[in-house]
């Protein structure tokens, strides 16, 4: 009896998991025939910028052009194209601007390197300040020792 109840509960949980949407989207994503394709489709359209409402992804954008571009991605996936082929296609038409995560090439090097350089400068400044403070504190301690004595 308890075993049967257990299987029932597990089955119900599995069913709930399968039926529940994996994420909430502003736009209902078009269905893909297999979960693998669905996952690739979602990853791709979340990585492309909507060219009309530039701070939204293709997955989130309600505009007509985004729907057309999602259809393009879907069609290419169904034709058996790889993710890289689809990305290259989009870049060849719209430029790197369409990628939310642009590749590391000469043209985009400054984009990737600037944060690291800024962080490095910050760390150097912080180190210097900490050393100075430590030296001051040490000097202070010595002063205190002298007056106490």
């Amino acid at each position: 009896m308890t075993a049967r109840l257990c299987t029932f509960v597990i089955a119900a949980l599995v069913a709930a998991l399968l039926l529940a949407p994996s994420a909430v989207y502003a736009i209902a994503p078009e269905q893909m025939p297999t979960p693998q394709l669905e996952a690739r489709y979602l990853a791709l359209i979340n990585g492309f910028r909507c060219m009309q409402c530039q701070d939204e992804s293709l997955a989130d954008s309600p505009v007509d052009l985004a729907a057309d571009m999602r259809r393009q991605v879907r069609d290419m996936l169904l034709q058996g194209k790889t993710d890289q082929q689809i990305r290259d296609f989009m870049v060849s038409r719209y430029g790197y601007f369409i990628l939310f995560k642009p590749p590391f090439v000469l043209k985009t090097a400054w984009l990737w390197l600037t944060p690291g350089v800024v962080l490095l400068v910050g760390v150097l400044i912080a180190l210097r300040v900490i050393r100075q403070r430590a030296a001051l504190a040490a000097a202070d301690m010595e002063d205190n020792d002298l007056t106490d004595a």
């Binding site: 057309d68 259809r71 038409r93 601007f97």
Partner: protein, 185 residues
């Protein structure tokens, strides 16, 4: 030394202001996204003609001639704004206009052209918007200048102005260009 302490953060802040100001000025303005198609072959296409659905408009027919590939639709307000300029370009007779009627209603498109005048040598129909994606179109109107070798030479985003026509398009054409050769249907 103590004075330097105030000046350094202030200088850093001033630098940040300058960087951000430049960033805002040059922020991805829709007009500024350069087309990766420039210098590359224009997409090959074969699409139904708007005026005669039995006929097809194809890139092979257009090979060997300069043409302006103009993406428009009757739903697009800026395209209507541009229309008079397109008629002027037709009148100039220097280069044929090839239209791409983008996601439009055929009846609307035909009645609009009948009423406002038809500047196009030929018009291809992109019913579902997939051809526009091939050209990297993200708004209408957009106009591509294609040379006789089928290479995209220039792209103009937005309604063509007299200034754009005179300063951007005409200078890119060879002298002695024969008026709208061949491409008329």
């Amino acid at each position: 030394m103590s004075r330097l302490r105030f000046i350094i953060p202030l200088a850093a802040f001033a630098l940040l202001v300058v960087v951000l100001a430049i960033g805002i000025r040059q922020s991805p303005d829709k007009d500024l996204i350069p087309s990766p198609l420039i210098g590359k072959p224009a997409p090959a296409f074969s699409l139904p003609s708007l005026t005669d659905p039995g006929q097809r408009v194809s890139s092979t027919q257009l090979q060997g001639h300069w043409y302006l590939f103009n993406v428009w639709g009757t739903w697009c307000v800026s395209c209507r704004e541009e229309h008079d300029m397109l008629l002027k370009i037709k009148q100039a007779g220097v280069i044929p206009l090839v239209g791409l009627d983008w996601k439009d209603d055929r009846g609307d498109a035909l009645s609009f052209l009948k009423q406002a005048g038809d500047p196009y040598a030929t018009i291809a129909v992109d019913q579902d918007g997939s051809e526009a994606i091939m050209w990297g179109v993200y708004g209408a109107p957009e106009t591509f200048l294609v040379n006789p070798q089928g290479i995209v030479v220039y792209k103009y985003i937005g309604p063509i102005t007299q200034q754009a026509w005179e300063q951007q398009i005409l200078p890119r054409l060879p002298m002695g260009q024969t008026p709208s050769a061949g491409a008329s249907s």
